[in-house]
Subunit: 353 residues, 4 copies
């Protein structure tokens, strides 16, 4: 395919890696030429992801994606999507970058200031010099920094709707700066493909439960992203919950409402902020977000409600955590980085019902 | 059965009515002697609820439960559980009370001050004189008022864990009075047995969505219950969400934390408040509430977490909305009203997994 | 769009109609120019299917699709996909055909001989003259009849995997003619969008149950399709079951195995029959069909197992009932009818997990 | 508790072990005095099963249940429920029996003739002398052998409804002897508590798939049980499927119908066979079995349909695999063995919805 960019997918054996390969299969300008795995190295793509068995590259073997293998990646590809686990990305990315590759990192390894890593991720960052160079890849807010970027930190699934929902409202003064509380709900695909008792069907059917409260690593990312976008520094509390769905994240954000602000004003502000953007759907007052309407798409649904009784703005957002919350947004970032239209190869029609 | 109280179940054809009959079937001191239905009048219990087809009373016919039928109810029973829809209970309860019956009302019709009905329920209350006589039946807080009560307003499924979680903490000064935000998650049995597109399996699988925000009728009930218990009057915002479960409500409450208060202090306060109560399980710090562990029981699970970074107390509660959130709590109220041990006939071991 | 065929979708408000519009949105040679509804006439596509709100035609209004409206359909389109209910298609199709339109009917109205309709569908067929002209649109078996066809009877979701699985094996003499028993499992999207108690989330979660046994209308269609393909006339028993999934049909067929036939022989026969066909995936011995791997694709997965102990061939098939079982296969038929490659515009990569 | 039998539960950490403890907690004549685990030895019951944390014995520590520990079991208990994995039961049971204990084994270790173990379970049976002494514990058919039995082989979840459904019909000559094909559907609790990718929520949501075909170890058990009950020896083919439910097994059995036999005749035969039995519900013609109506009960629902078109009898059965398919039936066996009414301590009202 003349003119297409050769792409490596590292961490191809996980759900996010599989979703990257699935979406890239119909991308007109990106071609997967390298597949990296860790535990699955040596197996073919079709063995690791039977639902991809029909692809021309289904027979391609996953290779080890470690620092020693960087030369192979560099020989095969120009752009790297790294869906490696937290920590593993930070370990290999500098070598990839030094070898001249462009890196879109889907882990949390380049999203925060260096000082935050010991507290929230449990490791000292091994390559702090790259943190300042990384672009935080939320295209609707920071897309202007993407063309030509060398390293993109692809946002987390939860921070994406929260930052998109809060930033314009804070900027416009419709929210009063102060603590922001975020109540998250997620399905099981976010927990990954590794088998634990907590992720069994038996454990999760008919179950709702919070987890990792109040120390989820997306907390500082929400704070940092809001600061990047607005210059303000509200403290964020994040309380995630597991619900029996597979795809889909829904966040309900509680912030202090400025005096006299109405639901209509909040809605208009969000609608204006994202006018013309192909992946943000701001709902009219009275409509309610539904995570299912974003399934298998790169969409975010947003709505905002003013509750003057309690001085609260409620901002609800939803997305498919494997697409707009991971693989789709990574491709959107790559599109902009390469000068392509941002919607290239990305779905917007939900598989419903 | 000598010594048992004869009981009528009105609204027996719904999920709550069916759950009342199921639980009462193994109650040693309450005997169902009258079944009232509306659309289902004329059918037998076994036809209306095939899962109850094995009961001795499965062949009993549901009778119309309207004001004209009060004499029949009064002839058959001493105590009435009314699982009629909102509004229908208020219409019939005065006649039942005048006929000398004791009434435990599972609708919202006797939970609020008269002034709140037009705004939150959409009707002018037809019997305001009974509102002051009604006991708000949250036994762990107001049980002392139950012995001998004539009319019990059985609490809503959402308000139960919220009020149980907040009241002791407010009382102890561990929370700063101020707006309280409640994020609720519920399964589909709360939506009842009536068929709507929104309640279909196809609509709700893999879907999370808020509903009726910010006007859910449980909002003033949470405010009122907290005031009854503490004398304080914080404003409450309530944002309920539908998730793909059948039974189970989980509420996550965000309140302002008093200076210096720790997770341990919050936990100890709740544990002390409910020590010895058979249906409240306060989790130790680090454990997380799971709605599934309350399934088919009359239990509430509670946990509290302090987040000094944002000055927030997070209080999580869960219960089975058909048991502790409706039929089970109604029986608990009846037990206390009649002078029986409150746990009589009520399950505490979850059907898990 | 020069060169594209203008297409009408009748019954656009149901799940199948919505799926047709969703799939056609990315079809390079078919353009939706008319939307017909019945109860939903007068609403826009975006109102009826909020997940399609991002489409350019989301604002288009659904029009009444009755015989009186045939002129409007004929003015707008050349090809009609009719996703109307059984009976309604038979009522309108003759007028559409007379007006020069080509019709792909997704109901059961043109799949059987006239004599079968009173018994299995409960009506006397109003246009028996068209039954002989209709092509039974199972492209992998009858594709040669499609180019230039005027009327295509798009197969039912259950018969598709059953006929595809049995026909080559019967033809090759690997099965002994005799009664064939088909055990079907389906999700709720097959029950459609209409709200009934049986389709509620509460009724179907944690439930498995047979339905319409032994009188399901797909029974004679399986018999007829097998006869069309093989000239043989085995009697078929069909026992469908409802399971708590949304998309996906899985059929397990029990037939008499010819002496000495092995699993390998069955597998090779199926593999040879569908070699090169883009939408049939025959699994190697030892692999097991999974309906989830066909989700949102036009694929059928097939496997066959010989059990000499009981003289049985077990043939398992799965597909997405809204795609290969309805809308996708209809588009595949239209592609062949119009001389396009059969895979045009049709997905083969499952949305997994 | 005077007069109660002291009971040991081995394998208490699994789902079946937990269900035994849950059900025994309300049994008036059996008292759990010993809890055996393997990987979980050293933990308390409440740690291993948090949903049982409210029990008086929640603090009891699980002890190793190996041959070396038999003396401890014998000191603590008179009756043993062994929910150990296949193979582990056969290893320890002889020592328990030699120590004078009565054993109800929930594994497959004493259900078959010795010759069947190498082929179907993969091991040479270590204690064939006990196989002839074991009673196959299907109380509705073999209850007469239970009083005073030393060793009970508790049936598998799938064979229970199949044997109960087929035996009376074969006995009465309503079925023609010949191959019987059984199509099974099960939820995930049958797969146990161990974490595998195949049992994740992500893998099983919206998925239907066969497994272990045609070598499932319940195949010879169905054959053996039918032979024990009827003296006939039909060959059985068993094709199990996994569906996204937690509890519940539904079996659809296809057998050859004798000439002229009607649905009514099949139904009457089953109804007569189980008249007065508290746990078998035979449905009237036209009603359909629903596994959900058996949830958390010791019930079996049965229905039978004649299809003269194909000469087939379809027999459908459903039960809760953890109750009537395991723990509940084990208690029913113990009740009869000890001379108690068989329904003692066993639930018959489903937790519905």
């Amino acid at each position: 395919m003349t003119g297409s960019t050769r792409v490596a997918v590292l961490g191809a054996s996980g759900y996010t890696g599989g979703e990257l390969v699935r979406l890239l299969a119909s991308h007109p300008a990106l071609e997967v030429t390298f597949l990296g795995g860790q535990g699955s190295a040596g197996k073919t793509l079709g063995e690791v992801h039977p639902h991809l068995a029909g692809l021309p590259i289904a027979g391609q073997v996953l290779e080890t994606a470690e620092v020693s293998g960087v030369a192979a990646v560099a020989a095969a590809a120009e752009l790297v999507f790294s869906a490696l686990p937290h920590g593993a990305s930070a370990a290999i990315a500098p070598a990839l970058l030094d070898a001249g590759l462009t890196v879109v990192d889907l882990a949390g390894d380049f999203r925060l200031p260096a000082a935050a890593y010991p507290e929230w991720y449990g490791f000292e960052h091994p390559a702090p010099q790259w943190l300042t160079e990384a672009v935080y890849g939320l295209p609707e807010l920071f897309g202007v920094q993407l063309p030509g970027a060398r390293l993109v930190a692809n946002p987390g699934c939860y921070p994406t709707p929260v930052i998109l929902g809060c930033a314009p409202l804070l900027d416009a003064g419709l929210l009063v700066p102060g603590p922001i509380r975020v109540d998250g709900k997620t399905g099981l695909s976010g927990a990954g493909r590794g088998a634990t008792e907590a992720s069994l069907f038996t454990s999760t059917e008919d179950s709702v439960r919070p987890y990792r409260v109040p120390r989820h690593q997306h907390t500082p990312e929400m704070e940092h992203g809001i600061t990047l976008a607005t210059g303000l520094a509200p403290a964020v509390l994040f309380v995630p919950h597991l619900v029996p769905t597979v795809r889909g994240v829904l966040t309900t954000t509680y912030a202090s409402l400025a005096e006299g602000v109405t639901t209509e004003a909040l809605t208009e502000c969000l609608a204006a902020a994202y006018e013309g953007r192909p992946f943000v759907r701001v709902l009219a007052p009275g409509q309610m977000v539904d995570s299912k309407r974003t399934r298998a798409t790169n969409l975010v649904e947003l709505q905002a409600i003013a509750d003057p009784r309690t001085g609260t703005a409620v901002i609800v957002g939803a997305l498919d955590n494997l697409v707009k919350g991971a693989a789709g947004q990574a491709i959107q970032n790559a599109n902009l980085l390469l000068g392509l239209p941002e919607e290239t190869g990305l779905p917007t029609l939900a598989v419903y019902p």
